[in-house]
């Protein structure tokens, strides 16, 4: 039996690896050509920012960026790089793409982790509460409030939070990730970053709060209807215990799935939040690289985020096993 599990695991890992390779190549091919359809190139953007240019200057830039080569040569080079795990070079920033991404990754992970954590934990708690009081006032209030946050544009919530908590109440900083001039280290630095994190994480989290609340509520109600719960009730387990042990544990499964599905979407939402709060993350970098036609960088970010999504989904599968041993990985 153990051997079977191991074999399954190995097969599964191989399939997942195949999936990653497919995703990476697919994204590289599709986006390489898609993004080249965008009018204008990186040299024009740079010259545009300079407010002036000469033909010689433009030619020098194009040569430096490798834009003077035919597209198929550029493509062959790019795929060659990808196959050797090299994301290429951002000529605009004068740095390898992988450095730039690694530079911004911690900020993005922090923001995503905090907002997802906030949304899933509070959302599950609210969903739990609503399901326990299904059909009563608490249920309605929880559902409507969560929905209201979902329906309000993210950037609008962000700006309002800044006005209230930073400008009026002066409790939290307006934006950025740390107080640069303070030169904090150690715990003081962590506290400082945490203070900067509160509003952006809250803004991004509030949007996803509704999703988790509704998911949790629906899935709790569904689990309540299942046979093994009725058995537990029949055995005389107290309603509170039924809710907490049996129903909650099983209702968490869809929440975990949702986590996996939402990683990509959150990176998109992060663009807005990072813009409003000057958070130096990947979302903003991706947005800027798009407008600067820094295609190597944008492709690199798209590739890494796709790989991240696949990896998170693998982790979700594992979490599934832990939460529910009955689930077979398909």
């Amino acid at each position: 039996m153990t051997r079977d599990v191991l074999r399954d695991g190995a097969l599964h890992a191989a399939r997942r690896f195949g999936q990653i390779v497919f995703v990476v190549l697919g994204i590289a091919v599709v986006n390489f050509f898609l993004l080249r359809l965008a009018p204008g190139d990186a040299a024009e953007v740079l010259a545009g920012e300079a407010g002036a240019a000469t033909p010689e200057f433009m030619a020098a830039l194009r040569q430096q960026f490798g834009l003077d080569q035919p597209v198929h040569v550029q493509f062959a080079k790019y795929i060659g790089n990808i196959l050797t795990l090299n994301l290429g070079y951002s000529f605009r920033q004068g740095m390898p793409v992988s450095w730039l991404i690694l530079d911004r990754l911690p900020a993005t992970m922090l923001l995503m982790g905090a907002s997802i954590g906030f949304a899933s934990i509070l959302g599950s708690a609210l969903g739990f509460l609503a399901a326990r009081h299904a059909g009563r006032l608490t249920d309605t209030v929880v559902s409507v409030v969560a929905l209201l946050f979902y329906a309000t544009p993210v950037f609008w919530i962000g700006v309002v939070l800044i006005v209230v908590f930073s400008v009026w109440l002066d409790w939290l900083p307006v934006g950025g990730m740390a107080t640069i001039e303070a030169g904090y280290t150690g715990i003081a630095y962590a506290v400082d970053v945490a203070r900067h994190l509160v509003l952006p994480a809250l803004t991004l989290g509030l949007f996803y709060l509704a999703i988790y609340t509704r998911l949790m509520r629906a899935s709790m109600l569904q689990v309540y209807g299942e046979d093994f719960i009725r058995t537990a009730v029949a055995k005389g387990v107290s309603p509170r215990n039924v809710a907490a042990r049996h129903v909650l544990r099983n209702a968490l499964l869809p929440v975990v799935t949702m986590l996996g599905m939402q990683i990509g979407s959150i990176l998109g939402g992060a663009i807005l939040v990072e813009t409003v709060f000057s958070w130096p993350g990947l979302g903003r970098l991706a947005f800027e690289s798009l407008f600067q036609r820094d295609l190597n960088l944008l492709l690199g970010i798209l590739l890494s985020s796709s790989v991240l999504v696949v990896l998170v989904n693998i982790a979700v599968d594992l979490a599934y096993r832990l939460l529910d041993p009955r689930v077979e990985i398909g």
Partner: protein, 538 residues
Amino acid sequence: MMSRRAFAQGVALLALLPAFSLAPSAHAAGEPRRGGTLNAIIQPEPVSLTAAVLAAAPTGIVGGNIFDGLVKYDLALKPQPELAERWETSPDGRTITFHLRRGVTWHDGKPFTSADVQWSLEHVWKPLNPRNPALFRNITSAETPDPHTVVFKLAEPSVALFSMLNGNGAQILPKHLYEGTNVLTNPHNAKPVGTGPFVFKEWVKGSHILLERNPNYWDAGKPYLDRIVFRVVPDGAARAAGLEKGDIHYAPLSPIPLRDAERLAKLPTVKVGTQGYDWLSPWLYLDFNVDSRHFKDARVRRAVAHAIDREALIKLVWFGFGKAAISPVPSTLAAFHDLEVPKYPFDPKKAEALLDEAGLKRGPDGTRLTITHDFLPYGEDYRRTGEFVKQSLKRVGIEVTLRGQDTAAFTRRVYGDRDFDLSSSWSGSFPDPQLGVARLYSSAFAGKNIPWSNGSGFRSAEADSIFKAVESEPDPTKRIQAWKRFQVLAQTELPTLPLVELRFFNVYSSRLRNAVTRGDQIFGALTEAWLDEPEKKN
């Protein structure tokens, strides 16, 4: 009401108190106070910090603190000594001798010499200057008789050269770090070594750029500030909030929405100023595509000019931060600006008459013609200018389709593909129109896919000959007359419609003093700036 932050600052100040009490009178009555970190905003984030390789505004704003120029410009735009202590021009105007300041060192400790100037001219200004390569190519050679003297030999006399010799227009790079490298890709472009009052410390992309006081600056005792942090803050509302709260002390280049500027200007803790942009002298204009179906007829172009109420545009869209432009040479270039040009006052009836005359009668739905308008993709103010133009033209029967796009698409469409009818843009004139205005009208740039150069596609032998003549004309009076002739020509033919002389503004904390002491301050160093003590909060 005392905020937590203010309280924390108060505690920090108490700790420093003994040090200050030793010299209680040092900063009484406007005496500069030393020390402190200036929190500034830079937006958008620069690509490079070396203006010699990239003339973008954010590069100039940060880099201006790191690099000195041969000269700087005072508030009247007269050249003043900086790295050059004095200079003389030969009577024929073809030889200029600069006597360089002694004892100046680069931030890495190496001495600054005439060889740096010579090398920069040969390898940077001549081949790479994106604005005015011709200006520098006119300098046939630079001789260095000794480490503190450099002699420029000019093919033709050049009056305009003296308006481009600051640390932005002619940035001197350290020869010992650049020689033998590709100047465009040299890593020092992003961590520059200059001779200026502030030393580059770190650049965390997407977050901030940190500069520190240069303790060995040649102007002993300066600068006053210990540190400048340029933060990247992408959102205008967040920038305004930071300034309002006092977290940010200095934000150049119209950093916040105009309506917020109007509001913040009324606060006691914030100041809004428009000084320091004269060297740039920015103006906003519409380019007619003179090769397009309708705008090849000058009457249609003039009709558009009469249909737009510039005063209303300035009031509604620009919240008063501007002045109606009547000529391509802004009034800030007082000597060159011509008041006698053909003017196009707001007069919709006249506009309609001109359109009738051009054979463009109103159709059954009231529309005479349909055009596209590509507005400059630099944010809400320019978008609203486009919306204003659209609504203004609609009233005289011109239906406008606005086209929004990003910068790359805009420059490709307007300057490359030339697939447009009407576009908007702004441009700096610089103190001499030769430097910033000629490129917008010169046929040498027409249809060459060079961003921000002759967008209208105007080709005029007369204009070209004026540009040629002023380049080598040594007599200032004759040059001024030539420029006035050009302005009459430009406003008669009207390939480009000047709309607004823009007044870019800085927003600063009222604690910041002497932030503007020169006419090219926006691209110059904050050498004289100092931070007053925080206001006591109760």
